[in-house]
């Protein structure tokens, strides 16, 4: 799977499940692929200008002030809050294994979501689930 073209790998992820083939290809060419080694940081708490990421392969930790809060894996995404609000991230994201992601610069996320409302809706569902989880444990 890691050898398959990016568009084919995107088609497997919930976030992009509603897109047709030429749209998947366009998305694959809009995002950039980045690979992080174990222990490398992807997003840094308190540092401006970060991006939106979708995990293609591998696992990452969410760390707030150095303490581990959650784990992310294939199909998960992060960085959308600071990309949309312009605020600095409130957590570090650190690769736990070799981590392969797709990256979209933060300033481009809004335009991207407006161009692909089906992705926006999928993202909204995921955000709703996160809010519900957060409230349940409050």
């Amino acid at each position: 799977m890691a050898d398959a073209p990016v568009a084919e790998r995107l088609a497997q992820l919930a976030l992009f499940a509603d897109l047709r083939w030429p749209e998947l290809e366009a998305v694959a060419h809009t995002f950039e692929e980045e690979v992080f080694g174990e222990g490398q940081r992807v997003i840094r708490q308190g540092i401006s200008g970060s991006a939106f990421y979708v995990v293609l392969e591998g696992e990452a930790s969410v760390l707030v002030d150095g303490s581990k809060r959650a784990r992310l894996g294939r199909g998960d995404f992060f960085g959308e809050i600071s990309a949309l609000t312009g605020d600095v991230p409130t957590a570090d994201i650190q690769a736990e294994t070799m981590l392969r992601c797709l990256m979209l610069p933060g300033a481009q996320l809004e335009g991207f979501l407006l161009e692909y409302p089906a992705v926006m809706l999928r993202m909204l569902h995921a955000e709703a689930r996160r809010v519900r989880e957060a409230n349940r444990w409050r």
């Binding site: 047709r20 083939w21 366009a26 694959a28 540092i47 401006s48 200008g49 312009g86």
Partner: protein, 499 residues
């Protein structure tokens, strides 16, 4: 008379593969540190990719003579993006000697001559005509098998460029001609209908060149729409954009399509290219006489993926640590334009210029020191600074350091501060190394902000807590005035009390 070739097969601490600008710069820097190494190249002379590319146009990077700044000086490096850098001023700015009158950007031959002059005057030894063929691990050593025999080393540095044509797996695209094989004969495309797959540097370069040969129809196609705002600021703009300009103004037979290529099929003397435009229901079918795949390049990694080197972009580049080592195989390092695979912080999406000589020449210097220290325990002295001198020193670096001017947001001047050693100059390092490190200190860089305005940015780590401060831009980019110095000194005061 037979000339004895250097570096016979055997064991060396470090083996550098490649004799392009990345290999030459790395060898020069390793030698300055006294680190013994062999340099191998399958070519028969220096120059690397500039022996072949770019095919048609001049480079997109500048070499500007300057009346104010002496050539060969550190400050001159910002005027000259193409020459390799050296501690000896006689070895710097050599591309300038070969640049034709009235030119500000070198041709391939002028660039090659500048690199050959560096190799000769700096006496960089290379075993030419020695092809690296395969690789294996042997306990702690790496073994590079070459056409001349086996080389054992602790660290291998591959400066092998992104020089191998890469074509995506689209049915029928293998029928096309890759950019590298495009004819330079001026009448080759006369009255022809041509489609170019791709919209990056090589696509525009070849499009611009063949437009001049009087072709009948030219179509550029790739899935992603060009980012016009970015293109307007791109170094490609003045050279390569005729096809795009003619398309947007409606010239007959000039098309730029944002569509994914589904397949290419042969039809007697012509080709049919089927493309899917996401905004249309039916496929677009374009009948053409020639299909050119300007789909880019990959690093010729040979069997490195088989010994575990992880790759990115469909295998086109190795995945790298911030100091250009394979993320998966220790001891395998990369130099030259492959260092673009280490992305840095990429704040606001801004990429490094490690794909260009003006970027990777500095990466090579940092890599050489890192390999010397981390692999071979050669300690390079750090200069100690008085705390009272720190403010002036840092504004001076922001003002003049060519590494910061060239590698914006990627390289930084880094000082460490602690009670025992005081303030030590850690040199120019990737910003990411400081930001993701643990030591207290300060890093200064020049960055593009969200509006693409150039600003000095200061990162201070004090008692483990990192603070980022973006300073205001200066219209003439002069940072050595009292406002910047005062701001820096205020930001640094709590930290410098440690020293």
């Amino acid at each position: 008379m037979a000339v004895e070739r250097p570096f016979p097969p055997g064991a060396y601490p470090v083996v550098v593969v490649g004799s392009g600008p990345g290999g030459l710069q790395t060898s020069y820097c390793l030698r300055r540190l006294g680190l013994e190494h062999a340099v191998l190249s399958e070519d028969d002379g220096p120059g690397g990719m500039f022996r072949r590319f770019p095919l048609f146009e001049r480079l997109i990077s500048w070499t500007h003579p300057s009346a104010d700044v002496p050539r060969g000086s550190r400050a001159f490096e910002a005027h000259d993006q193409n020459s390799l850098v050296a501690d000896d001023p006689e070895l710097g700015s050599l591309v300038l000697d070969y640049l034709g009158e009235d030119h500000r950007r070198p041709s391939r031959d002028e660039m090659g001559a500048g690199l050959a002059a560096f190799a000769e005057r700096a006496a960089i030894d290379v075993r030419y005509g020695c092809r690296w063929e395969s690789t294996r691990r042997d306990e702690d050593a790496l073994v590079l098998v070459t056409s001349d025999g086996e080389y054992r080393c602790t660290a291998a540095i591959f400066a092998i460029g992104m020089t191998e044509p890469w074509v995506p797996s689209i049915p029928g695209l293998e029928l096309s001609m890759h950019y590298v094989a495009v004819s330079k004969a001026s009448d080759r495309y006369h009255d022809r209908r041509v489609v170019i797959v791709g919209k990056r540097n090589s696509a525009f370069e070849v499009g611009e060149a063949i437009v001049r040969s009087g072709l009948r129809e030219l179509t550029l196609v790739s899935p992603r729409a060009p980012d016009l705002a970015r293109l307007a600021r791109s170094p490609l703009r003045p050279w390569y954009l005729t096809p795009y300009d003619e398309h947007v103004r409606g010239a007959p037979g000039r098309y730029v399509l944002n569509a994914s290529v589904e397949r290419v099929e042969r039809r007697e003397d012509a080709y049919l290219l089927h493309a899917l435009d996401p905004t249309r229901l039916e496929a677009l079918v374009v009948e053409v006489d020639d299909v050119i795949a300007a789909t880019g390049f990959r690093a010729p990694l040979q069997d490195l993926p088989e010994i575990g080197v992880a790759t990115v972009l469909d295998g086109r580049l190795p995945a790298l640590t911030p100091l250009w080592e394979s993320v998966t195989v220790p001891g395998v390092y990369f130099a030259g334009n492959i260092t673009q695979a280490a992305q840095g912080l990429r704040k606001h999406g801004v990429a490094s210029v490690s794909s260009m000589v003006c970027g990777f020449r500095y990466n090579a210097r940092i890599l050489a020191r890192h390999v010397a220290e981390a692999v071979f325990d050669i300690r390079v002295e750090r200069r100690r600074l008085e705390p009272t001198a720190v403010g002036s020193y840092l504004v001076d670096e922001l003002d003049r350091a060519p590494e910061l001017t060239m590698q914006k947001g990627y390289l930084a001047r880094v000082l460490s501060v602690d009670e025992r050693d005081g303030v030590l100059d850690q040199g120019i390092l990737p910003l990411e190394v400081f930001v993701d490190g643990k030591n207290d200190g300060v890093a200064v860089t020049l960055e593009f902000d969200a509006d693409e305005t150039i600003r000095p940015v200061v990162y201070v780590r004090h008692c483990g807590a990192l603070q980022e401060t973006s300073l205001p831009p200066h219209p003439l980019r002069r940072y050595d005035d009292v406002v910047y110095r005062d701001t820096l000194e205020r930001l640094l005061a709590p930290l410098l009390r440690l020293a």
